[in-house]
């Protein structure tokens, strides 16, 4: 009998601080597996965001930096320019990448920085207690959209991936989901593609991952996955965007 699935070297053997059923744990593992499989652990530099994944560097067994809320791509830009031979990626949530950091995101993409971005879209601010995010769905209840997101008051869910796809500096954008094991495997393939693009100097790559937040969706973990499948992916269709 052979081990066919176990934790890889790039992911420390530690308990994660995330809530039961949270997608961050899966996404962290996918990033670590990609780094491991591409044999780049010793030259990878990760940038952790502000949000639930603020301590992502505690779980990854490679060099990492913190970045101020929304500034991960500014920090990553500098690190990659200083060390072009290293593999530099950011891991950011929807509030970080598509609200407070929209400017840094758009301009890093527009400069075609040779970076890989793992973008966790869970349609809510998790760390701060479930407030309205740029990606919150219309009608979705949060602590700051009590009756549900309403277009007049809150605007529409922001499709930052589609927006970024318009920029010539961007080489690859794909939206994936964590709502079932086959989808998780697709997500991993997309992350691997984003890292390979960087290795091949192709420019800016981003993988948007629809990720469950059972706690602030008020759903059980499995119901959260079903909600992505049945509701969320209608607003954020899966597949290659660019």
């Amino acid at each position: 009998m052979k081990k066919t699935f176990k934790r890889c070297q790039s992911l420390y053997d530690l308990p994660a601080h995330y809530c039961p059923g949270c997608g961050h744990g899966i996404a962290h593992r996918l990033v670590a597996e990609v780094v491991q499989e591409l044999g780049i652990r010793e030259k990878t530099i990760g940038i952790a965001p502000v949000g639930c994944a603020v301590m992502a560097y505690d779980y990854w067994n490679f060099d990492c930096s913190e970045a101020a809320h929304g500034r991960a791509l500014a920090v990553a830009t500098a690190i990659k320019r200083v060390h072009p031979q290293n593999i530099v990626f950011t891991y950011q949530g929807d509030g970080d990448l598509a609200a407070i950091g929209t400017n840094e995101t758009i301009h890093a993409a527009n400069r075609g920085e040779n970076l890989s971005v793992v973008f966790i879209n869970n349609a809510v601010y998790g760390m701060t207690g479930g407030q309205l995010a740029p990606t919150t769905l219309l009608g979705q209840k949060t602590s700051t959209s009590i009756e549900g997101r309403e277009k007049k008051a809150h605007g529409y869910p922001l499709k930052i991936s589609e927006m970024l796809a318009l920029l010539p500096g961007v080489c690859y954008i794909e939206r994936v989901s964590l709502h079932s094991p086959p989808e998780v495997l697709k997500a991993k393939r997309a992350i691997k593609q984003a890292f390979k693009n960087q290795i091949n100097n192709l420019g800016f790559s981003l993988v948007e991952i629809l990720s469950p937040c059972p706690t602030y969706w008020g759903l059980a973990p499995k119901e959260s996955l079903d909600w992505i499948r049945d509701v969320m992916q209608k607003e954020f269709p899966l597949g290659r965007i660019k």
């Binding site: 010793e42 530099i45 970045a67 101020a68 500098a78 200083v82 400017n103």
Partner: protein, 353 residues
């Protein structure tokens, strides 16, 4: 070699000569010559980025410094306010960096005239949290060139952000500068080794650059480490110029461009027979308290006249340094107003009468 440079250009040239190999900035008057000079003269292996905002620029400096190279950004007052977020993170993550503020009038958009009204912001930390920057205030173009290089050395030595604080006059005026011919490579070799830098974890444990300490007691521990560092800096890095203060009845206190005008007033007054001295703080943090505690000063008991292009900001540090033992007077203008030589002379005569 002697060349004619503006203060802004001298700062940029000083940075390059100090081995600065990363610059990110955003245009704002009156410091635009720095960003233009860096764009033109950054060495081949270096990185120049015109960022999308002040926020992006300072966070790029954070990244470059974390990656282990000498990094700088520059701006003017409203832009420096925007950079405070990143400066706080740089201080918290114990990263070296040089930040240049060529001050203009405020508050708000203010104007583009010279001012010194960011003194509080510069010397009290500026952003959130218990931290300080080393703040160096050049008074002439040559000194702007020299102090920028000192700034990089101090930043690396103490793993701390350093601010070069000038004003619009210093940034714009041109003076001859003696440039030391030194190969950039030589400067680079002098830079300390940075085992904490992010380079990829080949052959070592992973490095983490961060300012976040969630475990109970961890932040207090990190902050105490910062405080111990600040104590050493306070002891070792006071810088000031002291002119004629041993026989003075009134000692003028001014920094940067203002100190030059104060010096002219002092020399005129001395010609007229008044015993006037001048203390020019060069390090604004640490504030040179020892300049005010000189034995001759304590015995002779002179008064101090603080002169600023702001409304009594450095005045507070002078009062703290003097500790209520001597009289401290103030004269200042702001919002584009610059105290003139004759205004200073009149103020001195009024105090003496």
């Amino acid at each position: 070699m002697k060349i004619l440079l503006s203060g802004n250009e001298a700062i940029a040239q000083g940075a390059i000569q100090a081995g600065c190999s990363f610059y990110a900035g955003y245009p704002i008057t009156p410091q635009n010559e720095i960003i233009a000079y860096m764009a033109k003269h950054m060495p081949q292996k270096g990185v120049f980025i015109q960022a999308e905002s002040e926020l992006a620029a300072i966070n790029m400096v954070y990244g470059a410094s974390a990656a282990g190279v000498r990094a700088m950004t520059s701006s003017s007052s409203p832009g420096i306010s925007l950079k405070q977020e990143g400066i706080s993170y740089i201080a918290g993550a114990r990263l070296p960096a040089v930040i240049v503020n060529i001050m203009r009038g405020g508050p708000g958009l203010g104007n583009i005239a010279p001012a010194q009204s960011d003194y509080f912001q510069a010397t009290r930390g500026g952003g959130h949290g218990d931290y300080h920057l080393i703040v160096l205030a050049p008074a002439c173009v040559q000194e702007a060139y020299e102090l920028t290089q000192t700034g990089f050395d101090l930043a690396d030595k103490y793993r701390t952000p350093v601010m070069i604080l000038g004003d619009g006059i210093l940034g714009q005026m041109m003076e001859p500068v003696v440039i030391r011919r030194q190969k950039t490579e030589d400067r680079r070799q002098k830079q300390p080794i940075k085992p904490w830098a992010l380079t990829g974890c080949k052959g070592r444990k992973p490095n983490i650059v961060k300012s976040f300490f969630l475990r109970e007691g961890a932040l207090e521990e990190a902050n105490l480490k910062l405080q111990r560092k600040y104590e050493i800096i306070r002891k070792k890095e006071e810088r000031y110029e002291n002119l004629f203060s041993s026989d003075a009845k009134i000692i003028l206190v001014a920094y940067g461009t203002m100190a030059r005008i104060a010096k002219s007033a002092m020399l005129e007054l001395r010609k007229e027979g008044y015993k006037i001295g001048l203390i020019r703080p060069i390090s604004l943090w640490p504030f040179p308290v020892n300049a005010f505690r000189h034995p001759s000063s304590v015995i002779r008991h002179p008064s101090f006249l603080v002169i600023e292009m702001s409304y009594g900001q450095m005045l507070e540090d002078v009062r703290l340094a003097v500790g209520g033992r001597q009289q401290v007077e103030f004269f200042g203008r702001s919002g584009g107003g610059v105290p003139t030589e004759s205004q200073i002379m009149n103020k001195v005569k009024k105090i003496l009468s």
